[in-house]
């Protein structure tokens, strides 16, 4: 049976070892390139012949555009539309990363904690900077909810600080764990199909088919969750709570 975590192995395609650091173009980088290429192709095809009444590809592109735009409008309001390009990029990057991972043999870059962690940390710092830029020192009130009795401050403030600081971890681990576990599960069950033979393998095969459907759903859902949490953090930074 194949090692179920072997699929996460980073393999250099174009080695680029600079001595101190290794910046090789790897299978992960390749998957990112394909994701970016696909997003660009989708929007290129969708915007090639722009018309007031959209064609097929334009409708698809507009659907993605509107989906993200509505998410921001609903969760952050119109002030959040300033950050629309970033949020759309984030959604496309995570969504295509997850979805490309569902193609057999493809690498899933969102199953690496360093990638999701970098994205989450970037969002965390960006949101924090936006918060302080908008509210100055007043942004520290984030750590003490409005209307709470002052006596509860010694308990509430540490809790709020911890929950604020844990945002990047929960955000990155959620995506990484979902992707990793799903792919491991598929690999393990697919291994059973082979080892149980023609008759006994039918049961795990059926399970693999079902879980594949589930994984597609999770791939889309986790991209949505990642972006909507970003919107919620952004909303906190812009409007506080």
């Amino acid at each position: 049976m194949a090692d179920p975590v072997k699929q996460f192995q980073i393999e250099p395609i174009v080695p680029l070892d600079l001595g101190i650091i290794d910046l090789s173009f790897t299978n992960s980088s390749m998957a990112m390139a394909v994701a970016v290429g696909l997003s660009a192709a989708l929007f290129y095809a969708g915007t090639r012949r722009l018309s007031l009444v959209p064609g097929r590809m334009q409708s698809l592109a507009e659907m993605m555009y509107e989906f993200v735009a509505n998410m921001i409008r609903d969760n952050v309001g119109n002030e959040g539309m300033r950050y629309f390009p970033f949020i759309l990029t984030l959604f496309l990057f995570v969504f295509f990363g997850n979805m490309l991972g569902m193609v057999p043999g493809n690498f899933t870059y969102t199953s690496h904690i360093i990638v999701t962690g970098a994205l989450a940390l970037f969002i965390f710092f960006a949101v924090t900077v936006i918060g302080f830029m908008r509210h100055g020192v007043g942004y520290l009130r984030m750590f003490f909810p409005h209307g709470a009795p002052i006596a509860t401050a010694p308990i509430l403030i540490p809790i709020e600080i911890i929950s604020y600081l844990s945002r990047p971890f929960s955000l990155s681990v959620r995506l990484f764990a979902n992707m990793t576990v799903g792919h491991i599960m598929l690999k393990v069950l697919a291994g059973f199909v082979v080892s149980l033979g023609l008759l006994g393998g039918i049961v795990p095969l059926a399970a693999v088919v079902g879980i594949t459907v589930l994984e597609f759903f999770i791939a889309a859902l986790q991209a949505y969750v990642f972006v909507i949490l970003t919107c919620i953090y952004l909303n906190d930074a812009i409007h506080m709570h």
Binding site: V5, F8, S28, T47, Y109, I114
Partner: protein
């Protein structure tokens, strides 16, 4: 697990930054101006069309209103005219009735006067005749000429008694 092998971290972070930035550029240069523009344009077209429709509807409403106002005014005028004409006709016919009635009453009075004159004339003739008859009878019965004046007086007395 390969996820926790730090040797690949630098490469992954580097290419993540590269491709994320690249995609961001695609979004900024291609998606936002293209799609965003056309969608904004569509929204504007829809808004303009809606505004135009609302304006036309307002104008239609105004036209209907003015039409109804004109209709009501015309109806009111027609009713007033009808009422005035009716009153005038009634007044005229009343006046005519009165005139005719007066004329008739005058004619009746004239006729009555004529009848009364004729009656008086007839009575006079009767009295004359009766006086002549009385005078003639008296002279025939008693002989000699009868006193015309006395005969007339006695006839008058009898007639007064008979009345």
């Amino acid at each position: 697990m390969p996820q926790f092998d730090p040797s690949s971290f630098a490469s992954q972070l580097f290419w993540l930054a590269v491709f994320f930035t690249l995609l961001y550029q695609v979004v900024i240069k291609l998606v936002i101006p293209g799609l965003g523009g056309v969608m904004e344009n569509r929204q504007r077209t829809i808004d303009e069309d809606l505004a135009k429709a609302a304006d036309l509807k307002a104008r239609t409403d105004a036209a209907i209103e003015s039409y109804e106002a004109a209709l009501a005014e015309a109806r009111g005028r027609a009713q007033a005219l009808l009422r005035e004409t009716g009153e005038e006709i009634a007044k005229q016919s009343e006046a005519r009735n009165r005139e005719v009635a007066e004329a008739l009453a005058q004619q009746v009075a004239e006729g009555e006067a004529r009848i009364a004159a004729a009656q008086a004339a007839a009575l006079d003739d009767v009295r004359d005749a009766a006086a002549d008859v009385t005078a003639a009878l008296t002279s025939k019965l008693m002989g000699g000429a009868a006193d015309q004046t006395a005969a007339r007086a006695s006839v008058d007395a009898v007639m007064r008694e008979a009345r």
